[in-house]
Symmetry: C2
Subunit: 384 residues, 2 copies
Amino acid sequence: MREVAVIGIGMTKFGDRWESSLRDLAAEAGLLALKDAGVDHVDSIYVGNMAGGQFVGQEHLGSLVADYLGLTPVPATRIESACASGGIAFRQGFIEVASGLADLVLVIGVEKMTDVSADESTGILATAADQEYEALSGITFPGLYAMIATRHMHEYGTTIEQLSAVSVKNHRHASKNPNAQFPFPVTLEQVMQSAPVALPLRLLHCSPITDGAAAVVLCPADKARSYTPAPVKVIGSGQASDAIALHGRKHITTLAATVEAAKAAYKMAGIRPEDVDVAEVHDCFAIAEICITEDLGFVEKGKGGPAVADGLTDYGGKVVVNPSGGLKGKGHPVGATGVAQVCEIVEQLRGSAGERQVPNARIGLTQNMGGSGGSAVVHVFEVM
Amino acid sequence: MREVAVIGIGMTKFGDRWESSLRDLAAEAGLLALKDAGVDHVDSIYVGNMAGGQFVGQEHLGSLVADYLGLTPVPATRIESACASGGIAFRQGFIEVASGLADLVLVIGVEKMTDVSADESTGILATAADQEYEALSGITFPGLYAMIATRHMHEYGTTIEQLSAVSVKNHRHASKNPNAQFPFPVTLEQVMQSAPVALPLRLLHCSPITDGAAAVVLCPADKARSYTPAPVKVIGSGQASDAIALHGRKHITTLAATVEAAKAAYKMAGIRPEDVDVAEVHDCFAIAEICITEDLGFVEKGKGGPAVADGLTDYGGKVVVNPSGGLKGKGHPVGATGVAQVCEIVEQLRGSAGERQVPNARIGLTQNMGGSGGSAVVHVFEVM
């Protein structure tokens, strides 16, 4: 396998993008990434998108995006793995460059969610849960994650203050991110008094409905410096699956797919969790970030709550988690999220993250997952 | 890149499978392919599916299928490219084995289409057309292909008898395929007198709505004989995109994505069109097979109509096209089709196709496309 590097990144402003259609958003991010990489052609395109068919009546997104970017007849493939669609699209791009079949690959993640009502959107997102056993029974994702949170509190003594600390941290980070949907801080009190959604989860424990896109350009690592002075190498990639229904899992407080994906990524990268300086992880709900910091091995199992409350996952701590603001603060256009995570880590490793810069960041990690954790993908990046 | 071989195949009966859900169908085909390959584990899974979200309210199909097959935590990725979803899923499996990341890959194509009405199904399929310019204006695929047919008749003098000869040939082939949805012959008169759908296309010029799944197992070619005495090597793979809207194309009677995908596949395989003994192609409508036989280079542009009427694409002709019965006779569960094509070609190259056997078949080809041709993927196979 050839080594692979990221040579270009681009993302749109996340939020209510009523003026832009799905194809507009994809093209906007794609063109920014091509410009950043300094290339006007690619050999292959991957599009990460969860539910274009349901949100805007458009499947067949690979060719649509290739056409709208003026890049036909380049092969273009759409990847879907619920909210992990972007991260897994990135992995497919990585595999294609690694294989030698393509030299330049453009990966775009995109979702256009606000053309339907919030109610409809929640129903569409629920098609990432087990339709026959979960969704048909009426449960949607806030309820599924509320069960995980309740059990985590029971098993490990995690508190509502600790859950709320995730949101406070990520909103603070988002306040320094001009592309964030919610670029403002919130207080612990505001989080804990926000409207109940599925208790213990309240509105400010939940990531929003968002329009947006993000894109990256990949190439073989040994050619990367001919495109950019600051390439970032992909040193590890891992992906795994788990039962998509909560009742099919051994422990609902452990995200087994994340554990396995991280194990594979760490092994390929030849690093340990403590080597990671900065990480973008899938905080679709506050409890998710707590489980993930445990399941990635950043902290001991059950200690994710105290860790975030004590600042161990913030600037000055062990590892900075979600400097972009995460899904909570930056927004969560589901198919775009995994690619946007890569954009942030590349900024951090380039040293171009401005006010959000993690000092001396050398090794970065992304963790993106689908549904309540039924699929997960982890990538590790290093300064070249 | 490592060389890749197919070591196992399996497919379900195609048709109205009211007793089986999407996951049942995927598991049925997957287990048959694993059994055929003689393996009980794989390193990676790809699931080709166009519209599980719209047809049965289920996205996130990679993990669902991995779980239902008892194969978690294996990475599992869903690929969508409208009706080319299966063929492109196969290509992703090919790339992953070629890259060296995985040794054993299971590729499953699946679609469950009969849980909604035929009207709804037609609307769902139309989300593979350009939603903003085609589908919203009310046109669906029979209408799009009717325009292609009308123009082909105008430019090349193609006749309704020639179009109908495609259906007669493919139904005759299907009559020898126990997995076919329509295992019976039809006469030229029956085709030409069938109910009008979008003239010149009548009911028997159109592929049906179908439930079904197909699966294959891939491994590195140099390990293939340790699994099976009759591996089939993948010697060429090509994929391309085109404008998904007809009005965006230079010529609507040339499927440019198919031309480009074939060029890439022939180049990788080091063969010419005339070297192909047997081909499974995407006859979603009769006119499509005529265009495809031209665009693959089997016959001169414009001569596809006379070729099928004269038997050049039948047993005893230049190349046997759609010995399985094709989409018209075998059925067209859209996400499954591209993988089912591979199953048939493997049977033919193994020499195990029974009554459908093409004598002395050494080189086989599959051509699978999405929408009205906006995406296309071509693979070339050879007896090892």
